[in-house]
Amino acid sequence: MRFRWASRPSRANTSGLLESAGYAALRDELGRQGRPWRLKPIGITVQFLSAAKNRTTYARGRITRLGRRNANVEVTAWQDDPACPVATAVMNILMVDPTE
């Protein structure tokens, strides 16, 4: 349940990258389970750990809990070393039946 997403400097910011990686991880897992979905963002809390430098940033989303209607996702962003994150986020996403 991991998804990596890279972002170029200046075109994207870290918060947007974290969020995209979180959604990607969730879409990936729902797709793998063959579950149809429509995602509704509920909330995100971003912690900035150190100043990001002008180079490519990576982010990885990990699903903490996948329920029937709600998903909790944890995301980490880093630049050179995955062990030294520049930012982390927790996300709360609601999943609704697209046919509803």
Partner: protein
Amino acid sequence: MNGDIDTSITDTFDPARVARFILGRAHPGWLGLRYVAHGADWVELTLPWRGDLVGEDGTGVIASGPIISLMDMAAGMAIWSTSGVFEPVATLDLRVDYMRPARPRAAVSGRVQCYRRTRSAAFVRGTAHDGDPDDPVAHIAGVFMTIPWRAA
């Protein structure tokens, strides 16, 4: 805190005047953020609708990511407006609650207030709306850290 800032300097940061320099480059420039209005402790910016900012194809709704950028930038400018000086700030923590999706093809505006400023920290809160400030699409709360020029 605010008391020991020289007022000859505090009068110099004018969000309306510096907006085109701050918003014209880098990520804010790419997004197309624009200045709307400001007060003593708040700033409002707007994010015009654009097809490539849509989150899910076919919906016409601006993604939530650019809204974070909008609110982050408005927060920074609200802090500079409050303290009256342009000084580097770093976001420590930013929470965004999405109350409803924006309307299709609607621009999203964000108004952020700096409600507490100390020597080293700034506390902000704000809302994003798509036309009616009383019917917001998102609410944010954040904490920023001031970086003194010498250390920057």
